[in-house]
């Protein structure tokens, strides 16, 4: 969870004119998000995006991603992976431990340093992209991605009315197939399915996103398979670059 890291960055950069807006992509709504936001002591706006509008409007496909928008409302970096520095938190024995994804990275400050550069240099920052680059680096959007978004929205509407019915699952399947690299569409469905179907859901249920051995699983993929596919893709891209 990176909300504490975003709050720490916000404390540092808000005096320089930077606001963080954290958008929670969660069909379960505000009450699912609230404990994490309160735990982080978030002072920045925390919005609730039940239908993943961020995906449709900006081309977000995963978490955590971030978009930079300048003072005039111009996008200067499109959605890209964005990991704030970890924070230190006491464990059960009172020992400080790193908390956040960045703790596992070679350079936990990498993303924050780009952001600091923009905060101080503005349009002169080397990380500000030209309009052509911003558009070119945004996600591919063939008609299938539009179809996937429409199916995802239908799946959501049906789920609200009737839960994980056959037709709800049909529309999730269409979304997951038509835009296979949209990880929020997938993990959202897996997560909510667990919460809805576990007989006694725990606070960890929403993170159990792959079937147990022999378990019937109604989706075309699962978290373990998705991560393996992403790893393969990364290796293929690396090989192509030589």
């Amino acid at each position: 969870m990176d909300l504490p890291g975003w709050q720490a960055l916000r404390e540092e950069l808000h005096p320089l004119g930077v606001e963080i807006v954290a958008v929670g992509l969660e069909m379960g709504g505000a009450e699912v998000l609230r404990p994490y936001i309160e735990d982080a002591g978030a002072e920045h706006p925390s919005l609730v995006d039940e239908t993943h509008e961020l995906d449709a409007r900006f081309g977000v496909t995963n978490i955590p991603q971030a978009i930079w928008i300048d003072e005039a409302g111009t996008i200067v970096r499109p959605p890209e992976m964005a990991i704030p520095p970890h924070v230190m938190r006491p464990d059960a024995d009172g020992e400080l431990q790193p908390f956040g994804m960045a703790a596992r990275m070679e350079d936990p400050q990498r993303y924050a340093n780009k952001l600091r550069d923009w905060a101080t240099k503005g349009a002169e920052s080397e990380y500000v992209l030209s309009p052509d680059e911003v558009i070119a680096r945004s996600k591919p959007r063939p008609i299938e991605v539009s179809q996937a978004a429409a199916h995802f929205e239908l799946a959501q509407a049906l789920w609200r009315a009737e839960g994980f019915s056959e037709r709800t699952l049909h529309h999730f399947e269409a979304a997951h197939t038509l835009q296979a690299d949209n990880i929020t569409y997938k993990r959202q469905a897996y997560s909510q399915y667990r919460v809805s179907t576990d007989e006694e859901p725990t606070e960890f249920s929403r993170f159990m996103q792959s079937p147990a051995e022999g378990e019937a699983w109604p989706f075309v993929s699962d978290f373990t398979a998705d991560m393996a596919a992403m790893q393969e893709q990364r290796e293929r891209e690396k090989a192509e670059r030589g």
Binding site: G17, V21, A30, L47, V48, F58, T74, P142, S146, A157
Partner: protein, 112 residues
């Protein structure tokens, strides 16, 4: 956007998709797409077709969903930040455009 019938006006289309219907066509940011005959009177299915928006029908439930535009092959058609209006955790509507004058880092996260 989700609909229970396709007979909607241009204002509802603009609210749902971010594309304003003007005499020159459907416009968002500095991009305008001519609509030909689909603009007046407004024809949602024809306008969606011009903008590369999927229209998916779920007949048993009586619902339609209109996907986002697919123009030029990229998720962003313009660098003008689209409006985004979402509730905060207390249900108060928040508009992204209310932060003009500040640099904004718009972050996606989820508890899964």
């Amino acid at each position: 956007m989700i609909l229970d019938q396709l007979d909607i006006d241009a204002d509802a289309f603009a609210t749902g998709t971010g594309w304003e219907i003007k005499p020159e066509g459907a416009c968002k940011g500095e991009v305008c797409v001519p609509l030909g005959g689909a603009g007046d009177p407004f024809d949602v299915a024809a306008a969606a077709g011009k903008l590369g928006m999927a229209v998916v029908h779920e007949p048993d439930a009586g619902l339609w969903a209109i996907g986002p535009e697919s123009l030029g092959g990229r998720a962003l058609t313009s660098v003008v930040a689209p409006e985004l209006e979402l509730p905060d955790v207390n249900g108060t509507p928040f508009r992204l455009s209310s932060l003009r004058g500040q640099k904004v880092v718009l972050v996606s996260w989820a508890p899964y």
